[in-house]
């Protein structure tokens, strides 16, 4: 069927903020969908709360709304815009859940909006456990014995019947929030309680554990004509038991025979047909390694993280095709955009191996529970492509940027005794432990028994270890060197093994002609001619990447999404690519993140899907010989490569390496600030513990300590005493031995952030943002407000002047980001980042100034003045915009949730309205906070914060909130004539704080940090308990006050009428 003509206007729902389980893949999906619909001539209305995305660019849709993804706000847009259709299957679980809610609310019917693509009934049949199981029984498709339970008692009855272990899966949650595997009653209690809470319908599925089965996924598509195809199948190296988002995955499947493959393919297609999916769908299956028994684990009736991976792994753009199916096309009518000659109704054939490895945030959260299970914990992922499994796996390992360039940890476990538990209970490092176990002589059979990882993979890893040994025994053997490169070994590892420098290895082998060629990802294993500019490197004969006549510019992407380096950097990367194209150059990108828009082959002129290491980047540079490399949009990943590239004679475009170093090197920066006469908090660099003590003593506590060259405030802390300092030095130095520790005076005050573009002559400032939380909370975790609401004109003037003089003084060409603190009427500079920042998409969108584009043009040589910009601050907008951070604490057990200099948020949302309170309300609601106008607020604050907290409690009381506090605080309140409900401390036999939180009796918890990161502390338990029970816990009084301001603006007052002033009359 051709496209539908009865619909003209389509509303697309995005997936909201980046959280664990729902990341950049939906920006990719949404962007593709919007482009596909616009291509077909539809009017596209987009709503998403996430400003950091490409999809929310005004060029992506005809109208873009950055509004909270809730029924009231989206209903408003529907009433206003009156779309004919709604496309919700590309916005992840968020989009899908919202579509269900909108439909149930009646608004779709009221406004005559048709849900496009897969129908609501189908969605519910796939998502609702009971309906789904019913359907599977009808289809005679096996599902593990399971039961839907609504209480702990029911759970116990089930386990009494089928025994342990059981898997717990809450209904309607993303990334398996609140789920897990229970092997005993104690674990059952805990996980079922959190699962029931996490499920919006208060249901969890208890399922017989089939841990150890092969976990296989099929990405399938279906159109209205019932044509159903498999785009890709994937095999998890980690067997069933670990969430697929936390598993190492290869595509296509490696250990399935054709019979196995077809068995599972048939099951997947049968299901997608029965569900009448119109679009993309993901089917997860478990296959017994010892028979042809299989089970259906789960079906996602929408585009998912796996479909983004499958799209990048095959070249088949699932989201784009799904959008076209939603408007009526059938697969055989849609051209395969990769070949341009064949059609979308075929199944891609791969002639390479793809490996995906998740990127976990445990390098930031040292205290976190790293054990992997059914609840996803990874924030992002990397993908690598190779012509053999080893190459693919090792390329993926070094793409992770965890300082591992090989299957080898910096400090590997040395004994069987240490390794055995690490192999049995998988954590994020298991693959390294497997390699290490082989190194110390454990057999693959033994490892198989402990891990159930298929022998095929274990043998491949053993092959890597054997080759390692061979390399060590034969230093200088060029045949072996070639063999090692073919198997994906990195120069870094080889250099270590042969006791040479990385550069020496590189020179040695390239002189011998040992260098990779580039092969095309073409969906068809070379059967048809393709022109997709999508390449991967491998050691083979024929190079397929041809040079063009045009001069090219290389852009380095930002790698996997992690805390501190999120989708914002992909946004900037994509914009710089577009700007390079506009400027007439060929834009080439290297990146390894399969979730992103930047790795969509249609974004750049040429995409190299490669690790971002010196070696891999140099190979591309040798191949392409670009005019230069742009590093300032790829976050710290790209910046970190600048020096090595410069050393190898590569031109770094924009801000020079020397200027970057001046901004990032502590001492040089200090000198620069002194010469520019810009004050900064007193501080110094310590190279030893002793030195640190002396410095801190001199500048006075509290001090801010951190290692140099860090990302997202990693390992940054405020310490108040020498003892804390010593404790910190132990850890920080261990974390980062190559770099010294920075010690600064901690200045309490208002924090302000500025992004600016400089061409060396003019410095243009698109916006200034003021943080709600005072300095000390990482800027990425603070609520940012534009335009600033509480700055005096003088302060603003100072900020502007200093920004301009710093940009010029540091020799910035391109973007820079500065953080200031306002302390006692002085404007101190905290740090300067000579690169694109997290706030670039937010500021670009609200000001309408295409910052990344302008910066790229500047870098390529066009002065700001030629583009109509001059030195100074852009006129401020009338409305108020806030950027609110979003955290994923519910998924990260044992992580402390308090706000600190170390960044913890995974994503952000935007709130926009005419007043600060209205904007904040929207921002907070969009971030997932429920804001009831009455209720209870529980205060547990440190002594030093009590006076300030008292003012807040008073105001909470005045708007009708019940104040709850422990005895100490309660007495203090009573003295102030504020009624208070007393709760018992933790540990008390009576109903205590934790019970109040668990039972949801408090809507908000305000908890400030006493001190110490030791999990046993009460504060930690309060914060964790809140997070696990979905209670809003505010750890900064500034955030609490902002929320209070919102509440006050929402509530009416209730005051008695004034008494007659008769007393005075009598006087």
């Amino acid at each position: 069927m051709p496209k539908r003509l009865d619909i003209k206007k389509i509303l697309v729902i995005g997936s909201g903020p980046i959280v664990i389980g729902q990341a950049a893949e939906f920006d990719y999906a949404g962007t593709q969908a919007c482009q596909a619909l616009k291509e077909e001539g539809y009017e596209v209305i987009l709503v998403n709360s996430n400003p950091a995305t490409i999809m929310t660019d005004t060029t992506m849709a005809d109208k873009v709304f950055i509004e909270p993804l809730t029924v009231p706000f989206v209903s408003r847009i529907i009433r206003q815009e009156r779309p004919d259709g709604l496309l919700a299957t590309l916005g992840g679980q968020t989009g899908l859940n919202l579509a269900v809610e909108l439909s149930e609310s009646g608004i779709l019917e009221e406004c005559g909006v048709e849900l496009l693509g897969t129908t609501l009934a189908s969605i519910q049949q796939a998502e609702d456990r009971e309906l789904f199981r019913g359907l599977m029984n009808e289809l005679n498709e096996p599902v593990p014995e399971s039961e839907i339970i609504r209480s702990l008692e029911e759970a116990k009855a089930f386990t009494a019947e089928i025994g342990y272990p059981v898997i717990i899966r809450p209904a309607f949650t993303l990334g398996g929030t609140g789920g897990g595997i229970a092997s005993n009653e104690e674990e059952l209690d805990e996980i079922v309680a959190s699962g029931l809470h996490a499920s919006p319908v208060h249901q969890v599925l208890l399922e017989k554990s089939i841990a150890g089965f092969k976990e296989i996924e099929y990405e399938v598509m279906r159109d209205s004509n019932d044509t159903s195809i498999v785009v890709c199948n994937m095999e998890n190296i980690d067997p069933v038991g670990i969430h697929t988002g936390d598993s190492i995955v290869v595509a296509p499947s490696q250990t399935l025979s054709d019979r196995d493959y077809q068995l599972l393919r048939n099951a997947s297609l049968k299901i997608i047909r029965a569900l009448k999916i119109e679009g993309g769908c993901n089917v997860q299956l478990a296959l017994d390694p010892d028979s042809s028994d299989y089970y259906i684990i789960e079906v996602n009736p929408r585009v998912s993280r796996s479909s983004a991976l499958a799209s990048k792994a095959t070249g088949y753009p699932i989201a784009k095709i799904a959008a076209k199916i939603a408007v009526g096309y059938t697969l055989d009518e849609i051209k395969n955009p990769v070949t341009g000659s064949t059609y979308a109704s075929f199944e891609p054939a791969l002639d390479y191996i793809v490996t995906k490895i998740p990127r976990w945030p445990f390098d930031k959260f040292e205290g976190a529970n790293r054990k992997l299970g059914t609840q996803m914990k990874a924030t992002g992922e990397v993908m690598a492509i190779g012509r053999n499994l080893e190459e693919s796996l090792l390329k993926a390992v070094r793409s992770l940027e965890t300082k591992c360039y090989h299957l080898e940890l910096e400090q590997p476990k040395q004994s069987r005794e240490e390794l055995i538990p690490a192999l049995t209970d998988a954590d994020d490092e298991r693959i390294y432990h497997v390699a290490q176990a082989i190194r110390i002589g454990m057999t693959v059979q033994e490892i198989w028994e402990l891990t159930k990882i298929d022998l095929f993979f274990l043998e491949k890893i053993k092959g890597i270890i054997d080759l390692e040994q061979n390399m060590r025994n034969n230093v200088g053997d060029l045949e072996l060197l070639k063999a090692a490169k073919e198997k994906g070994f990195s120069d870094v590892w080889l250099a270590k093994a042969w006791n040479m420098t990385e550069k020496e290895i590189y020179t040695l082998r390239t002189n011998e002609g040992i260098r990779p060629v580039y092969k095309m990802v073409d969906t068809c294993a070379a059967e048809f001619e393709s022109e997709t500019p999508y390449y991967y490197g491998t050691y083979a004969d024929e190079n397929e990447s041809n040079l063009t006549e045009r001069e090219s510019v290389l852009v380095l992407g930002s790698g996997p999404i992690r805390i501190g380096q999120g989708i914002e950097f992909d946004y900037a990367t994509v914009h710089t690519v577009w700007a390079i194209k506009e400027a007439g150059y060929e834009a080439i990108i290297i990146n390894n993140n399969p979730e992103t828009v930047s790795t969509d082959f249609s974004t750049s002129d040429k995409l190299y899907f490669e690790p971002l290491t010196v070696e891999d980047v140099m190979h591309v540079i040798d191949q392409e010989k670009p005019k230069g490399v742009i590093v300032q949009f790829g976050g710290q990943t790209a910046i970190n490569l600048a020096e090595a590239l410069h050393d190898r004679g590569v031109a770094i475009l924009g801000t020079s390496l020397d200027s970057m170093d001046r901004a990032e090197d502590r001492d040089r920066f200090e000198q620069a600030m002194q010469s520019l006469n810009i004050p900064q908090p007193e501080g110094a660099t310590a190279f030893s513990v002793k030195e640190a003590q002396v410095i801190a003593e001199r500048i006075g506590y509290p001090v801010l300590v951190r290692p140099s060259y860090v990302l997202g405030g990693r390992a940054m802390e405020i310490v108040y005493k020498e003892k804390e300092l010593l404790q910190y030095m132990e850890n920080a130095v261990r974390v980062n031995p190559e770099h010294p520790v920075l010690i600064d005076r901690y200045l309490e005050g208002k924090e302000v952030e500025v992004d600016a573009i400089s061409d060396g002559k003019d410095v243009f400032i698109p916006g200034i943002m003021e943080h709600i939380e005072r300095a000390g909370v990482h800027s990425g975790d603070s609520i940012a407000v534009y335009p600033p609401q509480r700055l005096t004109p003088e302060q603003k003037e100072k900020i502007i002047d200093r920004t301009i003089s710093m940009a010029k003084g540091l020799g910035i060409i391109g973007l820079l980001n500065i953080q200031f603190v306002l302390h006692k009427d002085e404007v101190y500079v905290l740090e300067v980042n000579p690169r694109s920042s997290r706030t670039v998409p937010f500021l670009s969108k609200i000001t309408g100034i295409p910052m990344a584009n302008l910066a790229t043009k500047v870098i390529l040589g066009t002065p700001l003045s030629d583009m109509g910009y001059s030195t100074g601050y852009a006129p401020e907008k009338e409305e108020v915009f806030v950027k609110v951070p979003v955290f994923s604490f519910a998924k990260l057990r044992r992580v402390d949730t308090y706000l600190s200099p170390e960044m913890k948020s995974t994503g952000e949302v935007m709130g926009r309205d005419t007043t600060l309170q209205k904007a904040l309300y929207k921002g907070l609601v969009a971030s997932g906070m429920k804001i009831p106008t009455y209720g209870t607020v529980l205060f547990t604050v440190a002594d030093k914060d009590k006076p300030e907290a008292l003012r807040l409690m008073k105001r909470f009381y005045e708007i009708g909130y019940t104040i709850m506090a422990t005895e100490g605080t309660a007495n203090y309140l009573k003295e102030q004539q504020i009624p208070v409900t007393v709760v018992h401390k933790i540990g008390s036999k009576e109903r205590n704080l934790l019970d109040v939180i668990r039972q949801g009796e408090a809507q908000f918890v305000v908890n400030t940090l006493t001190k110490g990161k030791v999990p046993a502390r009460d504060g930690f338990r309060i914060r964790r308990e809140s997070s696990e029970n979905g209670v809003v816990c505010l750890t900064s009084l500034d955030t609490a006050e902002a929320l209070l301001g919102v509440l006050e603006s929402l509530t009416f007052t209730a005051r008695q009428m004034p008494a007659f002033e008769k007393d005075r009359a009598l006087v």
């Binding site: 004509n225 019932d226 044509t227 195809i229 498999v230 296509p252 499947s253 490696q254 250990t255 399935l256 025979s257 054709d258 019979r259 196995d260 493959y261 077809q262 393919r265 048939n266 297609l269 390694p289 010892d290 028979s291 059938t330 697969l331 055989d332 000659s341 064949t342 059609y343 109704s345 075929f346 199944e347 891609p348 054939a349 791969l350 002639d351 390479y352 191996i353 012509r387 053999n388 499994l389 298929d454 022998l455 095929f456 043998e459 092969k519 068809c524 294993a525 070379a526 059967e527 048809f528 001619e529 083979a540 004969d541 024929e542 397929e544």
Partner: protein
């Protein structure tokens, strides 16, 4: 051990040998299936050809007892990027190397198979030979240039004598032009009482078996090399016996009705070929393995109509007889390897036989 693939255009691919050490030559073709190497290897339709598998890791799940499509593979060589020496699968009984040694098939690994595939795509199927690393290349090229393509493949792989697979259902006579076991399996699954007969069996010999239906099997090479089949097909149809042609059988069905066939540049070989049913508009994913095709234009004026086409290149994929109970497909409804989406065609054949029988009975009653 070094081994080379030498092509008739002089191109040499140097890699490592595995399997048999015998030097064999043939047409070099590629298959894009990602699984099913054992079935491909043992498919008689590859008789005399050297098959390159585009998927780079082959042999991962070993070799098992059940995935043979014939007892003695007729393929002349197998080329892969990497042959797995340590396979893992509960059904695995050995490695590719062991199988190829046992069946006397030379293998070559460690070459850039994508480069070879692209070469074939650009230049069309080429003749080639797997030779030892020290063989005289020029001599091999000369030999390849001067040797014509084989014409005797069907004769080579077809059964020499008829054999019976007794069962309780419909009697189906399978003309064995190189039939895959998968076809026999599908018939047996439907309780068909199968008689497999040699390629040159005549219509009268077949009729003596009182068949309910005739199946023209797949097979290697150019259909025009099997002229003996054409009069048989015509006679059978005159008897109103249901007929089902698969692959080579489909091409012979067309030739028998006066249509024509031609060689494709590099053929269709893989598990991902979409085929459109012209009557319903439905798309089916099919397994294919053919180097020749029925020319669509040549169907004009015949008693055949085009029922299915390839979505990718529009070539003929299925034919139906306008008046008789007979049809054919270019692809493999028995799959093995590949998607089973076209499997219902066997059902169609069964129904056809059922209908014909009912009609036959009625005719008897009326008489």
């Amino acid at each position: 051990m070094k081994r080379n693939l030498v092509l008739e255009d002089g191109t040499v691919f140097s890699g490592t040998g595995f399997g048999s050490e015998e030097e064999k030559g043939g047409e070099v073709v590629f298959n894009t299936g990602m699984t099913g190497y054992q079935e491909i290897l043992s498919d008689p339709s590859y008789c005399g050809q050297i098959v390159t598998l585009t998927y780079p890791l082959i042999g991962n799940y070993g070799v098992n007892r059940q995935d043979f499509e014939s007892i003695s593979p007729a393929v002349h060589g197998l080329i892969v990027n990497e042959a797995c020496s340590l396979p893992s699968h509960y059904q695995s009984l050995g490695t590719m190397d062991e199988l190829l040694k046992a069946k006397n098939i030379p293998g070559l690994q460690g070459i850039d198979t994508r480069k070879l595939t692209r070469l074939i795509r650009k230049h069309g199927t080429l003749k080639g030979k797997l030779v030892a690393g020290d063989a005289d290349i020029n001599a091999v090229v000369e030999e390849l240039k001067s040797s014509p393509l084989r014409t005797d493949q069907v004769k080579t792989v077809s059964t020499k004598t008829p054999y019976h697979l007794p069962n309780t259902g419909k009697r189906v006579v399978v003309l064995d032009y190189g039939a895959k076991s998968g076809i026999l399996r599908e018939l047996s699954r439907r309780n068909c009482d199968v008689v497999v007969v040699p390629h040159n069996t005549t219509a009268s010999e077949i009729l003596l078996l009182n068949p309910d239906g005739i199946l023209l099997s797949n097979g290697p090479g150019d259909p025009k090399d099997v002229p003996e089949a054409l009069p048989m097909i015509k006679t059978i149809l005159e008897e109103n016996i249901p007929l089902f042609g698969i692959c080579l059988g489909h091409q012979l069905f067309a030739l028998a009705h006066g249509a024509n066939t031609e060689k494709l540049k590099f053929g269709h070989r893989g598990s991902n070929h979409p085929v459109k049913d012209l009557a319903t508009g439905k798309i089916t994913m099919t397994a294919q393995n053919h180097g020749y095709t029925v020319r669509t234009e040549s169907l004009a004026g015949t008693e055949l109509e085009l029922t299915h086409v390839a979505v990718n290149d529009g070539t003929a994929e299925g034919l139906g007889h306008k008046t008789k109970p007979a049809f054919s497909v270019q692809y493999h409804p028995e799959a093995s390897p590949g998607p089973m989406d076209a499997n219902p065609l066997f059902e169609k054949f069964m129904n056809m036989m059922e209908t014909a029988k009912e009609k036959g009975n009625q005719l008897c009653l009326n008489a």
